[in-house]
Symmetry: C2
Subunit: 343 residues, 2 copies
Amino acid sequence: MLTFHSEDTKQRRPRIELDGGRFVTPHECPERVDMVIDRVRKIGLGEIRAPRAYGLEPILAVHDHGYVAFLEHAWDEWGAAGLEGEPIPSIWPARRLRGDRIPNSIEGRIGYYALAAETTLCARTFAAAQVSKDIALSALDHVVQTGEPAFGLCRPPGHHAAIDQYGGYCFFNNAAIAAQRALQGGMGKVAILDIDFHHGNGTQDIFYARDDVLFLSLHGDPRQEFPYFLGFADETGRGKGEGFNVNYPLLGGTDYAVWANALEDALRRVRAYRPELLIVSLGVDTFELDPISSFKLKSDDYLDCGRRLKALGIPTTFLLEGGYAVEEIGINVVNVLTGFEGS
Amino acid sequence: MLTFHSEDTKQRRPRIELDGGRFVTPHECPERVDMVIDRVRKIGLGEIRAPRAYGLEPILAVHDHGYVAFLEHAWDEWGAAGLEGEPIPSIWPARRLRGDRIPNSIEGRIGYYALAAETTLCARTFAAAQVSKDIALSALDHVVQTGEPAFGLCRPPGHHAAIDQYGGYCFFNNAAIAAQRALQGGMGKVAILDIDFHHGNGTQDIFYARDDVLFLSLHGDPRQEFPYFLGFADETGRGKGEGFNVNYPLLGGTDYAVWANALEDALRRVRAYRPELLIVSLGVDTFELDPISSFKLKSDDYLDCGRRLKALGIPTTFLLEGGYAVEEIGINVVNVLTGFEGS
Ligand SMILES: [Zn+2]
Ligand SMILES: [Zn+2]
């Protein structure tokens, strides 16, 4: 399987993450990329290619223009305001406040556009997020052109990024941007299957009222897990999109037997939808040793997961999302891909 | 003028405040209380009395029961979850997320109930906030019983605390709790004048649909200043409360001449309302040296402010809100009170 990769994703190097009332070393770190590409090389998954540059237009096809402009300039504006820490919001349009006014000040605007506060908007974030999107689109184009699967080694991840919100380590929604390009290229129906531990709130948000993208997400129950305020089973779509959003919230401690049951239900729905393309939001923070998650999947389980995805018989683009057990991220991600390859 | 004071307000001793992407020493610190009470003693403002205990009932008259229970147990639950930092939210029901589900996990719940993230829920916060409310109610009762003015040296402050939200250093809305008690005691109309630098979003929230409390706030324009997402001039009340909420957003750099113009307009409206009681949310972060604000009031201006308030001729309860130029907070607060006394 072809892998799309760029060292430029490592330009984003946050120094801090807000976690449990402390600053910790960021879980979403450049070393994740090294571990995955090393494993791709070690087992000889296939050719590794650099992405081509797609510019801003595919981003603006799913994200708000003001949001993209905000991300482009936030780091500079933060510094210009004399703020010395890494950009983190300390207030936001909470319940009981207004969400219809975008503040002038960078401290207000960062809260307006933030989904959460663990993720800093450090230097080169915008550049790295652009490259991540280029990787996703390069993988997408390869799959569309050849029918063969491809893996986009995206970083930063994308599935928490909503129409006009960043957070959960995500800035541009790589999976949504890729799906939108496939549709604009002539496809009629695309399915996005999100197997990251966390709910893909951003992807759900972007396609919630549409029937040309079937979105399915297996994830930690939001009553217990990030992002807490979206990802419930009763979120099934809106208007024309009714029935095209499927959430599988699963309790902490979920093992592969339980998880694979939910996966099979999701795959059954994908088959029934008959999409021309499957995009897999591939997070491996479902792993038993993941430091911020609570499922109990083991490394070998990812091989089986890959085999089940292959059985769909649909052209498939894999895009990296989360996975924070850095030592094992390469093994787990590549196990899904080799399981899919049948090797 | 009588002052109500308790050393127990100093039980709340947060170690950190999230500010500009860094942890700084909290601006809202116990030393504020020392500076004010020292000045009260030094100039001989009048007798200093301890508050009596009023329990939870007056709080529950304006705040949500679930919110109060959350505040009571948050510190213990945070520790029980193994979280080692001071309790700070890192996610919340942002735009595009659901505000109708309260998470089970403490990390989710702290975000549900938070207005902002600068304010930690450290040990003894609930106890200190209870004492602060007792001080407010003791001052209120004295004014109601005697017609004489009184000063409640409240800490933590209250005006940002909404029906079910804490933040901006506030937990229980002392001014709202006092106003509600006055009304329940038989008064028909109460005015709350908020002269803190920041918009009194919590007080506005609590009385927004009511006509028995006239709320007026002079504050930094929310396009530029905390709380950013409330405090605009077009917020005039809802339903029966239409016309009983008055906001005066003022630009950074506002000096006393401009500020006093807005004050006179507010006082004119108070007179027209003919309240039986005036509660002043007395913040002095309008001071030119305040570290987190942008108005340009000078210490002598507070004397004049006090004189103008006195001219209303309405029984008046002063309750301390903000003011973070610690060295001068005593002088500035007590200048308002001595201006009012005519001394
Ligand atoms: Zn994840
Ligand atoms: Zn203030």
